[in-house]
Subunit: 261 residues, 2 copies
């Protein structure tokens, strides 16, 4: 049996709420095992872009990352958000190291090919360097990963944080027994969108198919859950979706929605 | 004889010039030895602050880092500048890892005590964790350090890049034979400010005292050189001040101003 590793993703809505974020970081610091934090962006990038009079480019309802917006997300996600998380974790005696995919070459991507839409400076993940990440973990460091990757041509690329967390979890599953935990502002996957306590305790492929066909699970939760099942098929031991206040309970499989094959 | 380590500081004026910066990075990538890059900020932070309508606070002619300006330098130095340097170095097959002092707890500081002036969120360096930096070097990583440190309370703090380079060089001198190289837009310390080719080839404490008393060396160069002599007294083997185009020559002591005891 290989050693446990927790890959924890914290959503942008939690990042945007200083009190909720501080509570989450306190729990993350207490988690006594090898661990990696992947963070979303939050609304600050949009606010800073607005102040800089950079308009969000939309094409057919999709958000486009032009060069000006790439610079903003590099500043905000890679700088402001990432380094403040690291400094707060250091004050909690958690030896955090803030990284983008470019740092140590840990997550390389390719600029998304233009088909019908040119998404601009957006990366599709090509490779996670598990050996390099493991070298950092082995020297007692806790990687804190911002949602940016890089291409072999030296471009930084805006990248989805959920996808980065899943890809990291899958790559590390070669070396560890990986538990992937998505923390956000809800208590889990809900069977009733109007009842925050209606948490579906567990999902497997059969029950997920049922919830989807009845329409109970829909919209934005579907790509997240499809990604979770993909990660399990690719070797991740367990995926949990839970509230950012419930990380330590989720580690004991005692909170949120537990997803397994 | 311990192994050589190059601690290279690149100034803000070079960062601000994309062509000069690309030439420098190409040479830095070629330098075939353990190495650390410390970078200055450049003018982008001031430009972004102006666009965000954040005014630079000045007290008695000194620049003050208030919270709004700290957020800007965290974004620009820790995010935009640092991550673009890292991505460019990765494309040159140099396994760079971008860090502030907070990352891995490598450079801790204290918020500068208020005497006559409150400088705001500015850090005075307290400790460099040489063992942690060495662990990164040992795993084949090239630290690229932004001019930010952190306090034990979890604050990020704006910190002078020259001072960070010197403090890092001194701390690493316990483990390596350290060569500290300051790269900027001039060919070295000049004996005539109007002649860019009038480079003083070498300085020792006696010749430095002569140049100072005759007024040949003055103003902004004095704190830089005082710092260089301090670093030498504290165990650094050699300090060189040279043009950013001359890094590989300076490594061979064939360019710039070589400073030794």
């Amino acid at each position: 049996m290989s050693q446990a590793l927790y890959v924890v993703k914290i959503g942008g809505n939690v990042i945007d709420n200083p009190e909720a974020c501080a509570r989450f970081l306190s729990d993350f610091a207490k988690l006594d095992a090898p661990k990696i934090l992947v963070h979303g962006g939050g609304k600050v990038a949009t606010q800073i872009a607005a102040k800089l009079q950079i308009e969000t480019q939309m094409v057919e309802g999709r958000r486009i990352t032009d060069k000006a917006m790439l610079d903003v997300v590099t500043m905000v996600y890679g700088g402001l958000v990432n380094k403040n998380l690291v400094a707060q974790l250091q004050a909690l005696n958690c030896n955090a190291i803030g990284l983008t995919g470019a740092d140590g070459g840990i997550i390389r991507s390719v600029k998304r090919p233009v088909k019908t839409i040119d998404y601009g400076f957006v990366g599709d993940i090509e490779a996670v360097n598990a050996a390099q990440v493991n070298a950092l973990l082995s020297s007692g460091l806790i990687p804190v990963i911002a949602p940016l990757t890089y291409s072999s041509e030296g471009l930084l690329l805006n990248t989805n944080a959920d996808t980065m967390a899943s890809a990291t979890a899958v790559a590390m599953a070669e070396l560890f027994e990986v538990n992937l935990i998505f923390c956000f502002e809800k208590k889990g996957v809900l069977s009733d969108p109007d009842d925050d306590n209606a948490v579906i305790a567990s999902l497997n492929p059969a029950s997920y198919a049922d919830y989807k066909s009845s329409g109970v699970i829909n919209k934005g939760m579907i790509p997240k859950l499809d990604g979770a099942f993909e990660a399990l098929k690719d070797g991740v031991k367990q995926v949990t979706i839970c509230h950012s206040d419930d990380l330590l309970e989720a580690v004991m499989s005692a909170a949120g929605t537990v997803i397994a094959l």
